[in-house]
């Protein structure tokens, strides 16, 4: 289970059935260890992971999740649609579906993609079990052990275990307020070329980045697409949040600019409908799509037929844009609440991104504060975040944290940020005492949300590089 998809309540089951049935001894473990594939060595369990399990406890205000708010979907609606699927299409809904997905569902996907100015044909689509499966299938299809994947730094924490499992050599490119720095990407590609290495693909979340909260500018989008064409490189565009824009002008996805030549597109129903459905999709160049399809056959034959019927019914009976509109309104308010709370409670030495959409804010603290350690302190105050290191494969990100504003009530957001502000201020003060360096006086707390509206990229920090060593 990834950090992103850990729902509240999991990991707290001390009495869950099945837990007490282990009969392994140390010798057994050694025996199993000898059977594990080499790639499992990259699948690490860490102290941080254990700590993340505590964040699911009910007394904790968790800003660590990647969870959308599913309470906006009226329960009676779910019940009515489910009943209808059961009554009208029971036999079909209980049957296997084609590996590539049901045609009726693909028609819905075409509609969703058109919502972001993308033109796609149903036979260019593969329905998957969540967007996460696309990342897995793309790695399965393209990556041999030691192959290079280029990603942003920070990158989606949920992609890290996937990249690790395929033993990829991940090179992370720094970002600023306009997303991945393409000039650094070019330098990196040149450097790799000199070593005779070509990345198998470039992984990017260009719009409302998870975890960084920034959006790639139009100019950089054009450059990236051009670069991919010139160098014949595949780009995996992960776009779960594109429709969740709260402010600013809509930007075309890479897929729209490239028309599916070098861009593999990843979409999902998780953030516009429900993550519990586990339905996502990919649109990819034909030869790649065929291989992805074969990979999916081996993985799970097809995605949940019942879920596909449910979505089709939902699109037929309801206007999906209504729910989207409600989500946008809800999340925009929550984003503003978090930005205001950050301005009010965090010391001057800190900075954070101001997302125009999506679900996350990336905050960066002074480099002497390690957010993996800080999480232990924060948990004593019953608040949690994702330490920045989870978004890197190279040990960077030590003084940053990811904060989710979408899945938490406004009251909890204010209280959670107040508590984080308290522990950060405490550590800033302590460091100042230890070194004799005076902390910077607190800035005036104005309405950060207003400032964000006026100048969306103001005070967005380049994502800081953490000095190596220390741990």
């Amino acid at each position: 289970m990834t950090i992103d998809e850990t729902p509240r309540g999991s990991g707290s089951g001390g009495e869950s059935p099945g837990m007490g049935r282990s009969r392994t001894t140390a010798r057994d473990l050694e025996r199993y260890a000898g059977l594990f594939a080499r790639r499992t060595q990259g699948m690490k369990s860490s102290a941080m992971r254990d700590m993340m399990a505590i964040t699911a406890r009910p007394e904790i205000i968790s800003l660590a999740g990647g969870l959308p708010d599913t309470t906006t979907f009226p329960a009676e609606d779910v019940a009515a649609l489910m009943a209808r699927v059961a009554a009208d299409a029971s036999a079909r809904a209980l049957q296997y579906a084609p590996t590539e997905g049901m045609d009726e569902l693909k028609a819905c996907i075409v509609e969703v993609m058109a919502g972001e100015d993308m033109d796609v044909a149903t036979d260019e689509l593969l329905v998957t079990s969540g967007g996460q499966q696309v990342i897995d299938l793309v790695c399965k299809t393209l990556v041999d052990p030691g192959d290079v994947i280029v990603a942003e730094g920070p990158t989606y924490p949920g992609a890290v275990p996937t990249f690790s499992a395929y033993e990829a050599d991940v090179v992370q490119i720094e970002m600023d307020a306009d997303g991945m720095r393409i000039e650094l990407l070019e330098d990196t590609l040149d450097r790799l070329a000199r070593d005779g290495r070509t990345p198998k693909f470039i992984y990017t979340v260009p719009t409302f980045h998870n975890p960084a909260g920034v959006t790639m500018s139009l100019e950089r989008r054009r450059r990236l697409v051009r670069l991919a064409a010139e160098r014949e490189l595949l780009v995996l565009e992960d776009n779960p949040y594109g429709l969740l824009r709260y402010t600013g002008d809509r930007l075309p996805p890479l897929y729209a600019l490239d028309r599916g030549e070098y861009v593999i597109y990843l979409g999902t129903f998780s953030k516009i409908l429900s993550p519990g459905l586990r339905l996502g999709w990919t649109a990819a160049p034909r030869p790649v799509l065929d291989k992805l399809n074969l990979g999916k056959q081996g993985a799970d034959l097809c995605s949940s037929t019942f879920g596909q019927h449910f979505v089709v019914e939902y699109f037929a009976q309801r206007n999906w844009r209504d729910l989207l509109g409600r989500l946008r309104e809800l999340y925009r308010r929550r984003r503003d609440t978090m930005l205001d709370a950050l301005a009010e409670h965090l010391p001057h030495e800190t900075d954070w991104t101001r997302p125009e959409g999506g679900m996350f804010i990336w905050a960066t603290l002074p480099d002497y504060i390690d957010t993996s350690d800080l999480l232990a302190r924060a948990l004593r105050e019953h608040v949690a975040f994702v330490p920045g290191r989870a978004a890197y494969l190279d040990g960077r990100g030590g003084s940053s944290m990811r904060l989710n504003f979408a899945g938490v009530s406004e009251d909890d957001l204010r209280e959670g940020i107040r508590r984080i502000g308290k522990v950060v201020s405490e550590q800033v003060g302590l460091y100042s005492t230890l070194t004799g360096v005076e902390p910077v006086p607190r800035r005036h707390a104005g309405s950060a949300a207003d400032a964000a509206e006026a100048a969306p990229t103001a005070r967005v920090l380049p994502l800081r590089r953490q000095a190596g060593g220390e741990r």
Partner: protein, 317 residues
């Protein structure tokens, strides 16, 4: 046959390890024919103990609350016999500063150290003492939170410049930290188990981090990145000395039932020194105490049964 409440989980950072220890203990208890009740320790602990009315509690908790004497005080209060050490020994073991003072007072070797509370820095100007400390301890200096298991928050400061950040990190885990002289050498763990003849030291386990990363402490605690050798490859004298030192530490700290004493054998001189004591060491499949017990011919079930008998035999404080 007894009615046994297994206390596990809780809110400490070592919750996950505790759940694994607890699951393994429950499984052994059930096979031994006991009536087992699992209790995930939380605000309703006293209530649940009252409802369950166990004959005895098996404490499979690690870290804050469970290993620091808090839960033990509650068990004393409600009059339920429980496994392992009592409140005072738990407090001494969990707080590395208290433990090291007790060891030093008793003449047992432990690396030189200086300890500070957060107040000492904030209100008493302790920061001004840092240069003197750094001079006396030499670099690298090890910075540790006083009360935290599983090596969380432990850092090596290679130079004076790295000390403040290391102290800030350690204060994330506790309000008291210690700066300790770094000992390079072999890491040994000696588990001690009480029995009819009094406490006995089990075979020595050596932890060898893979790849030889001297400063990579996480390696010790990540499965697959550390090799454990049991019994450790030591000459007879060293083995005997290590076991004796562990027994001495066990007595000085006032432990009961079982405990694990972590030692260092200095690389050049071969001197043994006590790093810390664990009042409730891990009982998972990969934990050191069960491995050492197995090496001594004591199965996990036999270990659990013996610890339970000891708990029932103990007269309440």
């Amino acid at each position: 046959m007894s009615r046994v409440a297994v206390l596990e989980g809780g809110q400490s950072l070592e919750r996950q390890v505790s759940l694994r220890s607890g699951a393994r203990v429950r499984e052994a208890l059930e096979r031994l024919g006991h009536d087992v009740i699992a209790i995930d320790v939380g605000p309703d602990l006293v209530e649940r103990l009252g409802a369950a009315r166990p004959d005895v509690a098996f404490v499979a908790l690690h870290g804050r609350d469970g290993e620091d004497g808090t839960v033990q005080e509650i068990l004393e209060l409600v009059g339920i016999p429980y496994t392992a050490s009592g409140p005072s020994a738990c407090m001494r073991c969990m707080d590395k500063v208290l433990a090291k003072h007790a060891l030093r007072d008793a003449g047992l070797p432990t690396p030189d150290f200086y300890a500070f509370s957060q107040t000492a820095f904030e209100s008493l100007g302790a920061a001004h003492a840092l240069p003197a400390i750094e001079e006396r301890l030499d670099f690298p200096v090890v910075v540790k939170p006083a009360a935290q298991g599983s090596a969380l928050g432990i850092r090596f400061a290679p130079s004076a410049a790295a000390v403040p950040a290391a102290i800030v990190a350690a204060f994330s885990y506790d309000t008291k930290v210690l700066l300790e002289r770094h000992i390079s050498g072999r890491e040994l763990a000696v588990s001690v188990l009480d029995g009819p003849e009094g406490p006995e030291a089990l075979p020595v386990v050596e932890a060898i981090p893979r790849g030889g990363d001297r400063y990579d402490f996480e390696a010790r605690y990540e499965i697959g990145r550390t090799d454990f050798v049991c019994p450790a490859e030591l000459d007879d004298d060293t083995t005997r000395d290590a076991q004796q030192l562990a027994l001495d530490a066990y007595h000085v700290l006032g432990c009961y039932g079982f405990a694990r004493i972590d030692l260092m054998r200095e690389g050049v001189t071969g001197d043994l020194t006590v790093l810390e004591a664990n009042a409730i060491p891990g009982l998972t499949e990969t934990s050191l105490l069960p491995q050492a017990a197995e090496a001594a011919g004591i199965s996990f079930a036999a270990f659990v049964e013996r610890v339970l008998d000891l708990a029932l035999a103990r007269t309440p404080a």
